[in-house]
């Protein structure tokens, strides 16, 4: 099969085409690894676990963001061709490696760090699995920070300050976490100029999330909470 791979660093680069032997069971990451091992050892890409847990290997495949280690070539091959590029909406370091700093900086900016409401001297707070807030929080905890949603988001593409789906979904998790007491501070962090209100509800995040999470609904939840907070005079 013909595989076009993005080569270059920073803003400069072009697609380079390789002929890669096709196999019955072959992931997109297998294809990239074959090129690097058999044809061009200078090809730069990022991966770690190879089983869909670490979130390192996301790339654009035929124009769509995917976790390459769990994407079978057969599912995405178009006319016997593959086009593989670095993740959208992030600066490129080299070849297929995107600079993840903006993604994680926004994660921190959205208040993604857990701020415990008890000290280590106090007894551990019991959390019932059936607590409604816990049930909502549980829906998003399988996020692997792969940035596929961030690359899929057209709002991020047009509005670089926008925090993006993953960071906002994390904030929604904290907002519903019964161990978090200062919920207003969670809302304050996500209602600034790049906050949840900028989302256009296009839903690419939910459509492309490889773990089938639903950032779109999480952001909608944040918008509702922010509106309630505003109407109570806390905005």
């Amino acid at each position: 099969m013909e595989v076009a791979v993005w080569r270059g660093s920073g803003d400069r680069g072009a697609y380079q085409t390789f002929s890669v032997p096709a196999h019955d069971n072959q992931t997109v990451l297998d294809v990239v690894s074959w090129i690097q091992q058999a044809v061009d050892p200078s090809l730069t890409y990022r991966y770690a676990c190879r089983v869909g847990m670490c979130g390192s290997c996301a790339m654009m495949v035929n124009g769509q963001p995917r976790w390459t280690c769990r994407t079978h070539v057969k599912r995405v091959l178009a006319d016997g061709r593959l086009q593989i590029g670095p993740l959208r909406n992030l600066p490129v370091i080299k070849d297929l490696v995107a600079d993840m700093d903006p993604f994680f900086d926004k994660w921190v900016k959205a208040g993604g760090v857990h701020k415990p409401s008890r000290t280590r001297e106090e007894p551990i707070q019991e959390v019932s699995p059936d607590d409604p807030g816990r049930v909502v929080a549980n829906t998003a905890i399988e996020c692997i920070n792969c940035s596929v949603c961030y690359a899929a988001c057209d709002t991020v593409a047009g509005n670089p300050d926008y925090l993006g789906p993953a960071a906002l979904q994390r904030a929604w998790t904290l907002y519903n976490d019964v161990k978090v007491q200062d919920r207003q501070s969670v809302l304050d962090a996500v209602t600034g100029t790049g906050g949840c209100m900028n989302c256009h509800s296009q839903g690419s995040c939910t459509r492309f999330c490889p773990n089938e999470l639903d950032p779109l609904s999480a952001i909608a939840g944040l918008k509702r909470a922010a509106a309630r907070s505003f109407l109570k005079g806390r905005g």
């Binding site: 047009g158 300050d161 509106a227």
Partner: protein
């Protein structure tokens, strides 16, 4: 680019516009059933405080709603930001308010 105040202003102005648009359409459809001339329409609207408030509220809501909506589009398409984005937003709102107010006054002032 869109903070909570802009967001709420756009949502609340939409809530105002919704019923006013439906009211406008309903009255239009009702009023033209038997045929109605411009002079007959103006004779009903001129001097009417109710129609002044009805269309005045609509113009205010449109000015707020459209200015913020265009703010988002202009920022995302052209990258305009900072002070000039504020000038664009408030300028658009003021222009729509001026034009709408002229139209409302023209049909409701006696």
């Amino acid at each position: 680019m869109l903070d909570l105040r802009y967001y709420m202003a756009q949502r609340l102005s939409a809530m105002v516009m919704g019923p006013l648009v439906l009211g406008h359409l309903a009255v239009m459809i009702y009023a033209i059933q038997g045929g109605l001339s411009s002079a007959e329409i103006l004779s009903r609207t001129q001097g009417s405080i109710a129609w002044f408030l009805f269309y005045g509220a609509f113009v205010v809501a449109v000015s707020i709603h459209a200015a913020i909506g265009l703010r988002v589009i202009v920022h995302e398409v052209t990258g305009l930001a900072g002070r000039w984005l504020e000038v664009f937003t408030w300028g658009t709102g003021a222009a729509l308010l001026f034009m709408g107010a002229r139209a409302v006054l023209a049909v409701t002032m006696p």
